[in-house]
């Protein structure tokens, strides 16, 4: 009996819950695979998908979002060996699962911690609550390919934002595989969209896009490019998360800033009377 010939996977983009090839038809060879080389138009399509998903995702109950994120963690745990096979250290996969679970638990707590009643000096009911800002463009860290990616996606979406993620150009396979995890975990299509390819091609389009509400520049290592992207982002006053330092330790407690930077605070007043 001859050895079975393996069926190889085609690594594609993840947009609106589907796995299309780049509209440009381009791919690039990386990690011994041909991976889609996303274009500006793919970025545009991803923003459209992300925008379409905002209403349902932001409108879902916090409990429901928490459940779905937890489900994603379950699926990630189940595919541990698949990520290890891609060269991701087992410890990193474990940390990524734990990170995902940690953020899942924030879904129905952040509003309590970050919002609340304000004791105004008058006969008013006054309460502040956080709300998602909308569509967030994310430049994922180059590495760690999985833990870094999870650490930027989870805090953005747990509060109800949707994301368009530019994956690590040099290690994109973890991102595409994570897309497969998300596609099988009840996450509505369009909440997470993943573009593989060159940051220099997708990120400027996302930074300039007027229907994107925030940009996370965590993975931009080139300081000049980061500055240029921030300038573009200023056009519609996107909320900006600046690049992480090169020596950033992704294993430590991330705190809440990644979530809060991508939130708006809405304060509602109402008179109290009879």
């Amino acid at each position: 009996m001859s050895e079975r010939v393996a069926v190889r996977k085609t690594y594609k983009l993840f947009i609106g819950g589907k796995f299309p090839r780049s509209e440009s038809g381009r791919s690039y060879l990386v990690q011994s695979s041909n991976v889609s080389l996303a274009s500006r138009k793919d970025a545009r399509d991803a923003v459209v998908a992300a925008r379409a998903a905002v209403k349902g995702w932001a409108g879902a109950t916090a409990y429901n979002r928490g459940q779905i994120l937890y489900r994603a963690a379950e699926m990630l745990e189940g595919r541990r060996e698949q990520f290890v096979a891609l060269g991701i250290p087992g410890d990193e996969v474990d940390a990524a699962v734990d990170r995902w679970v940690w953020y899942a638990g924030w879904a129905d707590k952040l509003a309590q911690v970050y919002g609340g009643a304000n004791p105004v000096a008058g006969p008013y009911f006054n309460i502040s609550a956080p709300e998602p800002t909308g569509v967030v463009a994310v430049v994922a860290p180059e590495r760690p390919a999985l833990l870094g990616l999870v650490s930027v996606i989870a805090p953005a979406i747990v509060t109800g934002n949707t994301v368009v993620v530019a994956a690590s150009p040099s290690e994109p396979l973890a991102a595409v595989t994570l897309a497969e995890v998300l596609a099988t975990s009840d996450l509505p299509g369009g909440v997470v969209n993943i573009l593989t390819g060159a940051i220099t091609e997708t990120a400027p389009a996302l930074a300039a896009h007027m229907d994107v509400n925030a940009i996370d520049l965590t993975g931009v290592t080139d300081a000049t490019l980061a500055g240029e992207l921030e300038v573009k982002a200023a056009e519609n006053l996107k909320r900006v998360l600046r690049p992480a330092p090169a020596d950033h330790d992704w294993t430590v407690d991330p705190g809440v800033t990644r979530m809060t930077t991508l939130l708006e605070t809405k304060t509602v007043w109402h008179p109290k009377g009879v």
Partner: protein, 476 residues
């Protein structure tokens, strides 16, 4: 007829100097490389004082003074002691509130009733509120030992000169930062009086520095490499430029920018209070309010009745001398702003909207604009999209709650919104959907130091007021 006799507030409580220097390192100093400009009373065009204009070197001196104070005095100072200085300042503001109110009305043109009853009480309250945070920062939800950022560059507008100063300086100082603040070029006087109050409070030199000047001074300040934090309140256009200029730097930025708020009136609203809210929403402070309810969205089936009530109410607005205690609508702050209001209003007429103002006599000298409403406005009109920043209301109609939300959100701005209805569930449904940082339901234009204020979308980012207001001044 019952004619109210003039009831002018006395100016004698204010001791105006012929000229003012820059407040740097605890002292009033002459500019080294800047010139000077005049601040005028917009109600009479009378020159109030000659004001120093800070040049780049002056900004450098101010930032250095702030840095030194941060490193040597204010940064290391225990929170409880910073608190005491802020409490002192709050008390001094209360003690000198009449003087500050009169000066604010003189320099800004706002009615004394507002500077006395709204601006000054809120200014003092803001310092009191943040004073109490200075020694409790570990409990503010930003970690157990949050650190200040450093030197804050703060640029504020002319519509609420002293209140915006308070919104900027109080949280910055409470969190342990030092500041260089630039007041607007048309309204620098209360900030300079505040500098005197800092001296009176024995606030350590360099903790608060005030550099007067116009756009160039502001740019020099914001772009100064020694600055760690930039806070700006003003137009979206300038906010955008600032966001670009700090791009790629370490500077933390908060922006409170323009707005085009929808004030939404349903057919079951408490109509008389809604009409008050509409009037307060757009004519408070001559409409020079970033969160002004400048778009009235009224349900079509009550539009005629609401408009009739609104017009009747507007006929009672008293426009004139800001220092008269019975004045409701004062002077437009500057000739330039008046020109902008006129230009946009003319565009409203040219685009076919119907213009109405109550009969009112405007003074000959000074900058004045009668309270104005435009009916028959659609989303496509410039006056429904652009911020007028004056006493001009655009009236649109809607049929259903969903349409109201859609129209309200159909703007790049997202600062505030108003909802008027007696139905509680509808308020909450609407409040959930409105993309605005402050939602006033059955009220409008309410402010409080404990209540976070700030916008969505192009109305800026970051919050001022409340626990949230500390975040912009802490290294988190």
């Amino acid at each position: 007829m019952f004619e109210y006799a003039p009831a002018p507030e006395s100016r004698s409580v204010v001791d105006l100097k012929p000229s003012y220097g820059l407040f740097i390192d605890g002292k009033f100093v002459d500019p080294t490389d800047g010139g000077s400009f005049k601040s005028i009373n917009p109600a009479s065009e009378e020159v109030l004082a000659e004001i120093a204009e800070a040049g780049a070197q002056d900004v450098e001196r101010a930032v250095s003074a702030a840095r030194k104070a941060y490193d040597k005095v204010w940064g290391p100072m225990p929170g409880r002691d910073r608190a005491k200085y802020l409490y002192r300042i709050a008390r001094l503001i209360q003690e000198r509130s009449r003087e500050l109110a009169v000066l604010e009305s003189l320099d800004n043109g706002k009615p004394i009733r507002e500077s006395r009853d709204v601006d000054l009480p809120l200014v003092a309250a803001h310092f009191f509120y943040y004073a109490g945070w200075a020694d409790k920062l570990g409990h503010a939800g930003f970690g157990s030992n949050p650190q200040p950022i450093g030197v804050a560059a703060q640029v504020i507008p002319w519509n609420f000169p002293l209140l915006m100063l308070a919104w900027k300086i109080a949280p910055a100082l409470a969190a342990g930062n030092t500041v260089v603040l630039k007041p607007a070029e048309t309204t620098p006087l209360t900030a300079l009086l505040f500098a005197e109050i800092c001296q009176q409070a024995d606030l350590p030199a360099g903790v608060v520095n005030i550099v007067t000047g116009a756009g160039d001074t502001g740019r020099a300040l914001v772009e100064h490499p020694g600055v760690d934090k930039v806070a700006f309140t003003g137009s979206t256009e300038v906010g955008r430029a600032i966001a670009r200029s700090v791009a790629g730097t370490r500077k933390k930025l908060t922006l409170e920018l323009g707005g085009k708020a929808a004030n939404i009136v349903f057919d079951d609203a408490p109509i008389d209070q809604a009409v008050e809210g509409i009037v307060n929403g757009i004519f408070f402070n001559q409409g020079h309010v970033c969160c002004a309810g400048s778009r009235l969205l009224v349900q079509e089936n009550v539009a005629d009745r609401v408009l009739e009530s609104l017009k009747r109410r507007m006929a009672h607005l008293r426009v004139g001398d800001p220092l008269d205690k019975n004045t409701d609508v004062g002077a437009i702050n500057s000739a330039a702003q008046l020109e902008r209001i006129r230009e946009l209003s003319d565009a409203g007429s040219a685009e076919g909207a119907e213009r109405w103002s109550p009969p009112c006599e405007l003074p000959d000298r000074g900058f004045w604009f009668a309270p104005t409403i435009f009916t028959g406005v659609t989303q496509a009109h410039r006056i429904a999209r652009e911020e007028i920043f004056g006493p001009v209301l655009s009236v649109l109609t809607f049929r259903t709650p969903a349409e109201a939300v859609e129209k309200a959100n159909n703007t790049p701005y997202g600062l505030s919104a108003g909802i008027w209805t007696d139905k509680g569930s509808r308020i909450l449904w609407m409040a959930d959907r409105l993309r605005a940082g402050v939602v006033w339901a059955n009220t409008f234009n309410k402010f409080d130091p404990t209540s976070p204020f700030g916008g969505y979308k192009e109305s800026g980012y970051g919050r001022e007021g409340g626990r949230h207001g500390l975040e912009g001044y802490l290294n988190v």
